[in-house]
Symmetry: C2
Subunit: 130 residues, 2 copies
């Protein structure tokens, strides 16, 4: 498994899984730094159920450092998905890396925990459709 454990819901601070970086990874696409992240923008990005689903899936089900669009199993046109992933990256929620033809999507777990502590917990607890 990975280097970290998951939240135990016992009152201990939640810890979400991260993956160690590989030096040979391509540079991330342009993204805001921690300090450039804006709460309003993050909130707006998370006000869409599809984007909430994407972030939550990355948070709870990621198996590698990042995953391409298709991994999420979203039944939408590709041009729609491009729009949503870009919105998430612009808000600072995800990091995107280009691997030849595919693009890897990674949740910025450590940056988000540092900048907005508790935010990921809210997303993990989200119940869609309820």
């Amino acid at each position: 498994m990975g280097p970290t454990a998951t939240d135990t819901a016992t009152g201990t601070p939640p810890r979400f899984r991260t993956f160690t970086e590989d030096d040979r990874l391509p540079e991330p696409l342009p993204e805001p730094t921690r300090d450039e992240m804006r709460l309003e923008i993050v909130m707006a990005a998370l006000s869409d159920p599809l984007r909430l689903f994407i972030v939550r899936k990355l948070l709870l089900e990621a198996e590698r450092i990042d995953h391409p669009c298709g991994w999420f199993g979203l039944d939408r046109p590709k041009s729609s998905l491009t729009h949503h992933f870009r919105t998430l990256r612009d808000a600072g929620l995800i990091r995107q890396r280009q691997y030849g033809l595919t693009r890897g999507n990674q949740l910025r777990v450590e940056d988000l925990e540092a900048r907005f502590p508790g935010l990921l917990r809210l997303i993990a607890d989200w119940r869609p459709h309820a």
Copy 2:
């Protein structure tokens, strides 16, 4: 002072100030119950800087159980303010009570802490304009 203390930022769970209820208070205007609150809707309500300001001011500077519109010192037309306060109430963030001609606005601190633990902490830490 009130019955509660404030967050100490030392790792202890944050506790925000609440006010004891008075039996003679008028009934709140229609609002979602705890379980009816939706994270997407709450996020959308908080994606507007003016509304974030309103909620944050209620969280950090409330002196009574609720406050009328004018207390916030917002330089906008009244019809705009009606819209924003209604958005906050529909999302479940605030409770509104009618006192004759004025309307009191109260943050639903306990409901929000129960339904979305950690959310108020994010709002308290928000820095506008930064």
